[in-house]
């Protein structure tokens, strides 16, 4: 991991000013010296100095061209697969999984990662992670079906979420999936299913705690208000359910480790209490997802490189607390983790092309890309970086980056450090694997190819859309055209 120093940005700036303090009144002419060959060319540029404190986007400028991705020329990839283009570095995804799994298993041997499907449920992505040993964490019947279709056994699927239909729950219990109950209505449906199947069903209870602001109270039963305890008691009281699991998910992109330590502490105390009061023995506890990736949040002052905890930080925060739970070491419940963005964000990049550049009325520069927020919805959270895909010289300019959609809100970043580029030049946006693809919308443009590269080989893992595909399920009644 590269750690950048904010101060280096400051010192660069002062060097720039220092250069200016030795002003020369130059009268150099080209015929004053002889040349053997022509000079290296970059786009002529002039940038006005602005004096002030470093702004909150104070990242080191990225003038070093990212003209290769996973060993391939960016330009060539675009020639072969079009622009924009999502590119997955398969080895990086595998390494992330192995790294995170190692971080937790070395501290809590019964740890098991269940990949949060919603983050990116492309079949190829899920397959790679399952190949590495991940279970599936799904939050809808549709996602459940994707997992089963990839031959995940029901018993390796965790089924979460606030809305599960009776049919979906019936399927999940019949296939021995782990189900975490979100609310009383769902509990009642599950009791009906237990009745119909003529068996006692093992369930998990999702709880929430007052950990962050705004709190994640939408899901599960609140601990502090006593609802979580009531829920466990209520589940047992029916005689149809056996509580064997506890689940919490503290939020998403949580880089504050104390939130995890308080959540783990809460889980331990709650387990102790329901064990004493209700005789519950857990088979698993599930700490959910939320682990941050190396992307900088829009409202963050420091770049993610300086604030994002490592997998080891998270594991070191959570595991020792859980190991203090009310059980003999050999009886430790299985520990589930449901990472999403921490696994898939970084291995994906998006290659885009510059469609236009313009001067804004305030004198600033704007550029328009061929990719919009329809395939990059995380711009509502993240201040992405835009790396040049070719040699663009060393002149960086503060730039507003617009998406290509014909919508005023399609701004990918208000203020980014971008080198001098022309129409047709390529920009690479790193770390785009989480949520952008699963939350993408088809609007005005067709969604692009997604490729995966491993061992030098390029695989198309999702083909670009066609008009026929987009309109496949549309119908025009005859009476509309007669």
């Amino acid at each position: 991991m590269v750690v950048f120093n904010v101060l280096s940005v400051h010192s660069m700036f002062s060097q720039l000013l220092f250069a200016g303090s030795s002003l020369l009144n130059l009268k150099i002419r080209t015929d004053d010296y002889t040349m053997t060959e022509k000079r290296h060319y970059s786009k002529p540029t002039i940038i006005r100095h602005t004096v002030g404190v470093m702004n909150k986007y104070g990242r080191p400028p990225a003038t070093v061209p990212m003209n290769r991705l996973v060993g391939h020329e960016v330009k060539e990839l675009v020639e072969n697969y079009g622009s924009p283009l999502f590119v997955l570095n398969v080895q990086e995804l595998r390494d992330n999984y192995r790294d995170m799994s190692r971080a937790f298993m070395t501290r809590y041997p019964k740890a098991q990662i269940a990949y949060s499907y919603k983050t990116n449920y492309m079949k190829a992505v899920c397959s790679i992670l399952h190949q590495e040993g991940a279970w599936a964490e799904v939050v809808s019947g549709f996602e459940y079906d994707i997992a089963r279709n990839l031959n995940m056994a029901g018993e390796n699927i965790i089924f979460n979420g606030p809305y599960k239909t009776k049919a979906e729950l019936m399927r999940a219990f019949s296939e021995k999936a782990l189900v975490n109950i979100d609310n009383y209505d769902e509990m009642q449906v599950i009791e009906d299913i237990a009745e119909e199947l003529g068996t006692v069903l093992e369930v998990g209870i999702r709880i929430n705690m007052d950990l962050n602001s705004p709190p994640w109270h939408k899901f599960g039963f609140n601990l502090e208000a006593g609802h979580a305890f009531e829920a466990v008691k209520r589940a047992l009281a029916s005689g149809k359910l056996k509580v064997v699991g506890l689940h919490i998910h503290v939020g998403t992109y949580i880089d504050d480790l104390t939130i995890y330590s308080r959540a783990a502490q809460g889980m331990v105390e709650f387990y102790r209490y329901i064990k004493e009061q209700l005789g519950v023995t857990l088979k698993y506890w599930d700490m959910g997802g939320g682990y941050a990736s190396h992307n900088t949040l829009n409202w963050a002052w420091l770049p993610a490189e300086q604030t994002c905890p490592t997998y080891d930080h998270y594991a070191e925060t959570i595991c020792p607390i859980l190991l203090n739970g009310p059980f003999a070491a050999e009886d430790a419940p299985k520990l589930f983790l449901e990472p999403g963005r921490a696994l898939v964000d970084e291995p994906f990049s998006l290659i885009t092309s510059v469609a236009a550049q313009k001067r804004m009325p305030n004198g600033g520069r704007g550029i328009v890309l061929d990719a919009g927020m329809n395939i990059l919805s995380s711009v509502q959270w993240y201040s992405y970086n835009f790396q040049t895909g070719q040699d663009s010289g060393s002149m960086i300019e503060d730039t507003t980056v617009y998406g290509g959609l014909c919508m005023n809100i399609d701004v990918l970043r208000e203020s980014a450090s971008v080198p001098q580029v022309r129409r047709g030049d390529l920009l690479v946006i790193p770390h785009v694997g989480a949520y952008n693809i699963s939350q993408s919308w088809q609007f005005i443009y067709l969604r692009p190819n997604v490729i995966a590269i491993e061992d030098g080989e390029v695989h198309v893992i999702k083909k670009a859309e066609t008009r026929e595909y987009v309109q496949e399920f549309e119908q025009v009644p005859d009476t509309f055209t007669k």
Binding site: L16, A19, G20, S22, L23, L24, N25, L26, I28, R29, T30, M35, E37, K38, R39, H40, Y41, S42, K43, P44, T45, I46, I47, R48, H49, Q357, R359, G363, G393, S394, M395, Q420, R422
Partner: protein
């Protein structure tokens, strides 16, 4: 061609530009500095593309677009008129 520039400018070898009229400062890259110097020396705008292509490794059509764009930047910055 003197009236081409709005005021008096001092340009350093490193591309640092000082506008005596407004007190504003700028940074020019190597190519930008080359062109600006030619303007200061009184080169005619129409000759600049040729000067750039004979000095730098660049195709004429690209240089033409870039020089146009550079002039637009200079105008917007009220450095030339």
């Amino acid at each position: 061609m003197d009236s081409f520039l709005h005021s008096e400018f001092t340009l350093s070898e490193s591309g640092f530009l000082f506008d005596h009229g407004t007190g504003l400062t700028y940074t020019l890259n190597e190519t930008g500095r080359f062109i600006f110097q030619k303007i200061q020396d009184g080169s005619h705008a129409n000759n600049l593309v040729e000067l750039v292509t004979s000095e730098f490794e660049v195709a004429e059509d690209i240089a033409r677009k870039d020089v146009d764009d550079f002039f637009r930047q200079l105008k917007e910055a009220r450095i030339i008129h």
